[in-house]
């Protein structure tokens, strides 16, 4: 009986902890977003975040997309050649890249690179009293640290995904023409025929959501970190892990929302 009660208590505590955590993150996000329409807005911090999140993530996102597109072409060829359906490869590559691989791979790469950096930077500011110093210098820390990063995440991820889409398709094109023997003109025509505006648009919407979630997790775990270097370390880990899981979970939810018949 005692063991059963312990189990019930454990489940109860876990559910409460999840509910409290979700509530705290939701309130944090709402406060961060509310400062978008309440001046002042810190443009200098925003532009710095845009550079860190977007521009400096370009190499890692570009390389990931290029190789992913190539891998899709190779793997599709292996499977489709058995049914003499190689002509569908260009369609498969453009569909996979624009709908899924572009936003998801960019999201995961940015979660690892930028989510961790945000959590570490804000977490260090928390444990070294820099956030309290902001308050004493009449600067709202949420407005200064969180809101510009959230907006930078929302804007930069779609831009990165545009690049990822182009390079992913280029990766598939390069492998298909150089290694699998496709004629370049035929491959390009098939790609253009398979390219749909709504696929690209949905991919960009997904990217904006992922960018928001990654910045939110980085800011939240950094802002609430405690306990010196160890606290900053665990905040960074939590930010990357939770952002990666949320990217995949929201990818499913958004795919179901936009593409489910």
């Amino acid at each position: 009986m005692n063991a059963f009660l312990d189990l019930v208590a454990l489940i109860g505590r876990t559910v409460l902890a999840i509910a409290c955590g979700t509530g705290a993150i939701t309130l944090f996000a709402l406060e961060g977003l509310s400062h978008l329409v309440r001046p002042p807005f810190y443009w200098r911090v925003f532009l710095g975040s845009l550079r860190d999140t977007g521009f400096l993530s370009l190499p890692v996102v570009a390389l990931t997309a290029l190789f992913s597109g190539g891998v899709i072409a190779l793997q599709s060829y292996t499977g489709f050649a058995q049914y003499h359906a190689q002509s569908a490869i260009a369609n498969i590559v453009v569909l996979a890249v624009t709908r899924e691989l572009g936003p998801v791979m960019a999201g995961l790469m940015v979660a690892g690179r930028v989510g961790a950096a945000m959590a570490a930077q804000i977490g260090t500011m928390r444990v070294t009293d820099q956030i309290d110093a902001l308050t004493t210098l009449r600067t709202n820390p949420m407005k200064y640290l969180v809101t510009p990063r959230l907006l930078a995440g929302i804007i930069s991820l779609p831009l990165l995904v545009v690049v990822a889409d182009i390079l992913g398709v280029m990766g598939g094109f390069t492998v298909s023409t150089a290694k699998l023997g496709f004629a370049p003109e035929t491959y390009i025509m098939a790609t253009l025929n398979g390219l749909k505006v709504e696929d690209v648009t949905v991919g960009l919407v997904k990217a904006a959501v992922f960018g928001f979630l990654i910045a939110l997790m980085g800011c939240y775990y950094g802002y609430t970190s405690r306990g010196g270097a160890e606290g900053v370390g665990s905040a960074t880990t939590s930010a990357v892990v939770s952002a990666s899981i949320l990217v995949l979970a929201f990818d499913y939810l958004l795919t179901d929302l936009f593409f489910a018949q």
């Binding site: 930077q121 070294t128 210098l137």
Partner: protein, 263 residues
């Protein structure tokens, strides 16, 4: 007919704050007159930093009144509390300089803030930052460095420059000499006294350092287990006649103050 007593710059009554079961502040009453330099001493965990953070509004107390210029800041509207911060400068224990900004941008942070009145251009703020750096004995060329490139003593000076850049009416100092050698500690204390006297500010400092407390303070108080156990002139700290203060200031193991040590 006698004149009414002047309003203290900072007036605290019945201030209480607990973290879980631990009562950190237990009914603090304190008056800090205008233009006074007030030092709070006490051991680690006695509640000094929490007291300072409650006055600054960084921690919300459970009970009590904190008045600045007669205005109850705990019950004032948010906007009024934010405006009140314009009158306050703070030197944090570790400097709390912003790593991502250069020294001059740190010093001029409040002057460049969109909420600053008047808001200076970056060129004007740079000139003002150089002036303030000179007041704390630093060359203008230091302004282009980043905090990680500075020694501990220079970081304290830059922290002090940032605290006084906006000419605040109230200055707070959290352990201003911690981590500094005795000479640099005396230099920082001298700068603090100069700044406070020159600007006519009211100052509250918390410290463990008895030499620093006597150099900075006009008045002093001792905090022990969340209560103020003594208050008097800072010059009498070493011969206060209070057994707790005497034990603390002379660093004696035996006495009414007991340390909670775990074996």
């Amino acid at each position: 007919m006698t004149e009414p007593a002047p309003l203290p710059k900072i007036r605290i009554r019945g201030l209480r704050k607990a973290f879980g079961a631990k009562q950190v502040l237990d009914g603090i009453d304190l008056d800090v007159p205008q233009g006074t330099s007030f030092v709070v001493i006490g051991g680690s965990g006695s509640g000094k930093s929490v007291l300072l953070r409650c006055i600054l509004g960084l921690i919300t107390p459970d009970e009590g009144i904190i008045e600045i210029d007669g205005v109850d800041v705990l019950r004032a509207p948010q906007r009024e509390r934010e405006e009140r911060l314009e009158e306050i400068g703070m030197l944090f224990q570790n400097g709390a300089l912003f790593d991502s900004l250069s020294v001059w941008e740190n010093v001029a942070f409040a002057l460049l803030a969109p909420t600053a009145s008047p808001r200076l251009s970056r060129a004007q703020a740079r000139v003002r930052a150089n002036d303030v750096l000179a007041q704390v004995g630093l060359d203008a060329s230091v302004g282009d460095l980043y905090p990680s490139e500075l020694s501990g003593g220079m970081q304290k000076r830059v922290g002090l420059a940032r605290a006084i850049a906006d000419r605040p009416e109230i200055l707070f100092f959290d352990e201003p000499t911690t981590g500094l050698d005795p000479i640099m500690g005396a230099v920082i204390d001298g700068l603090i006294v100069d700044c406070v006297k020159r600007m006519g500010s009211t100052a509250i400092a918390i410290t463990h350092d008895m030499a620093s407390a006597q150099r900075i303070g006009d008045q002093a108080a001792m905090l022990y287990r969340g209560k103020l156990v003594w208050q008097g002139p800072a010059s009498s700290l070493m011969h206060s006649g209070n057994p707790m203060v005497d034990q603390f200031t002379h660093g004696r193991r035996e006495g009414p103050i007991t340390m909670e040590l775990r074996r």
